[in-house]
């Protein structure tokens, strides 16, 4: 026997109530207690989003936050069976639907994306790259940590307190996130356009520092000098110590 339309409708009505908070009488339901379901459902959604987006939650007033969470959950059909990844759908909803709050905070979708990236990078499946930890940064081909993500933003959401970001901050910002191999913690590194392109080139394939400086300088249109070489070496030394650089090509 197939599920009858009436049964299907009863289930749908209860689900709609849980998503919207608007109750339409359902046959046989205890109206004193049915509210527990709405509370349980919205609490899970709210807690999960607060946990994923602490900066956004702090930026918005309590009423603004509650409105966005309720609007999202009532109008968007969450697709992920894994609740920890549901916040990505909240980010996509804000980006696609451009609710009124985005006019007040034009950087909101970038802030949400930054916060989501940290969750995703922390949780994502392991990636490996063949390398040896021993080598010479000045001579050997460098292997970047495959667990990294290069990101471009138009607002400095990774640099400034969200409450202090204004339209005048609009510009070009680059950062790289990587998962530290031992602790699994996600680290953020602000980048100049030069270093961002260098990271991008390293992600394509292992290269030597000389190759990186030469190719990046040519593409960006600058003449490399001793100072640039020293700055790049300093960046790579820090990147190696911090786990953004995995090591060197196996010989």
């Amino acid at each position: 026997m197939q599920l009858l339309e009436t049964t299907r409708n009863h289930q749908s009505e209860l689900a709609k109530y849980c998503r919207t908070g608007q109750y339409n009488p359902i046959q046989g339901v205890n109206e004193r207690h049915v509210g527990r379901y709405r509370q349980l459902v919205i609490n899970v959604v709210d807690d999960t989003l607060r946990s994923a987006f602490p900066l956004t939650c702090n930026l918005l007033s309590p009423d603004e936050w509650t409105k966005e969470v309720n609007d999202f959950f009532s109008s968007h059909a969450c697709q992920s069976p894994q609740v920890w990844s549901m916040p990505k759908e909240f980010w996509a909803y804000v980006k696609d639907q451009q609710p009124a709050i985005v006019k007040k905070y034009p950087f909101l979708d970038e802030l949400l994306w930054l916060e989501w990236l940290e969750v995703e990078m922390f949780m994502m499946e392991d990636k490996t790259a063949g390398h040896t930890p021993a080598g010479n940064l000045k001579k050997d081909k460098i292997v970047i940590n495959p667990e990294h993500h290069l990101q471009y933003f138009t607002y400095p959401v990774h640099l400034k307190n969200a409450q202090q970001i204004t339209k005048t901050d609009k510009g070009h910002y680059f950062l790289v996130l990587h998962r530290e191999p031992v602790t699994g913690k996600v680290k953020f590194t602000n980048l100049s356009p030069f270093l961002a392109r260098m990271v991008e080139l390293l992600a394509e394939k292992p290269r030597t520092i000389k190759e990186l400086i030469k190719k990046t300088s040519r593409e960006i249109g600058i003449v490399p000098d001793q100072q640039l070489a020293e700055d790049v070496l300093h960046f790579l030394e820090n990147a190696l110590a911090g786990g953004l650089i995995h090591g060197f090509v196996n010989k």
Partner: protein
């Protein structure tokens, strides 16, 4: 054997000490599938020391929506990767109108729902190529019931042939909320299908409502009901202590595990004396 729900809230402390000594661990596959990094390392450490059981949250076996076969295949892969011994799910729905709800809603106790749920259980078992256990959920309101909860559960068990995950706390909670005798309920269950037991604490939030929180210690009436269920069952099945919130010292959890083991041991020993 008595296990514990492996929760991130106490995973690190648990793995670094020997205070808590479960026989096995249980996780929700939804919280671990596709996860790497720190948590994968923690899970791998746990898997080196303990057998694993899986208890799903999102399969939505009672949903009007089609089964999420892609997700089910991921569960199958996860079962294989972790060597999990049992995969159980809830007799409820968590997705409807193509939207996940992230909680367990009660299925209407109707004849068509019995058929629908049973067919889906068979479909799941067919894809996984293993029997699953279905948990009686706690519920706070019935929805358009045509039969009793007991009739509904027994009908699903009879039609699908699946195992039963007997959540003793849920039976206690439901008996309070819906005014029936939990002992008579257990007497009426198709007890032979029980392959796994869950035990947990709950919270009474009103004179007429208890919520299944998994955030409190197990209370004596639930221990007594557990004792009754084991005597009725007369076989040794795995028992899980669920504690998801308000995590106490691990020594307190170990005390609950020992209490559960003692009750089970005594209940089964008395029977063996009686038949000797």
């Amino acid at each position: 054997m008595t296990g514990i729900g492996f929760r991130k809230d106490f995973a690190e402390e648990f793995l670094q000490s020997s205070v808590l000594q479960p026989s096995f661990l249980e996780v929700a596959p939804e919280n671990w599938i596709g996860v790497g990094g720190y948590w994968k390392k923690q899970l791998n450490k746990a898997l080196k020391r303990y057998p694993l059981f899986l208890h799903g949250l999102s399969l939505s076996i009672g949903s009007p929506d089609p089964l999420d076969l892609d997700f089910l295949r991921k569960v199958k892969t996860f079962i294989k990767e972790t060597g999990a011994g049992i995969y159980s799910e809830h007799l409820s729905y968590a997705k409807c109108d193509n939207a996940h709800l992230y909680d367990l809603l009660p299925v209407p106790f109707t004849a068509d729902a019995v058929d629908h749920v049973s067919e889906r259980i068979l479909q799941v078992q067919d894809l996984l190529q293993q029997k699953i256990a279905i948990e009686i959920v706690s519920y706070y309101t019935p929805v358009a019931p045509e039969m009793t909860e007991l009739e509904f559960i027994n009908a699903v068990l009879r039609k699908s042939g699946c195992d039963l995950l007997l959540d003793v706390n849920n039976i206690y909670v439901n008996s309070f909320n819906h005014h029936y005798d939990p002992y008579q309920f257990i007497d009426g269950l198709t007890i032979d299908n029980v392959s796994y037991i869950h035990m947990a604490g709950h919270l009474k939030i009103a004179d007429d409502l208890i919520i299944d929180t998994h955030g409190e210690a197990i209370i004596d009436p639930v221990y007594q009901l557990f004792d009754y269920a084991i005597r009725k069952l007369q076989k040794d099945v795995p028992v899980l202590l669920e504690r998801d919130f308000n995590i106490p010292d691990l020594a307190e959890l170990q005390h609950e595990i020992l209490q559960l083991e003692k009750i089970k041991r005594d209940a089964l020993k008395e029977k063996s004396y009686a038949t000797a």
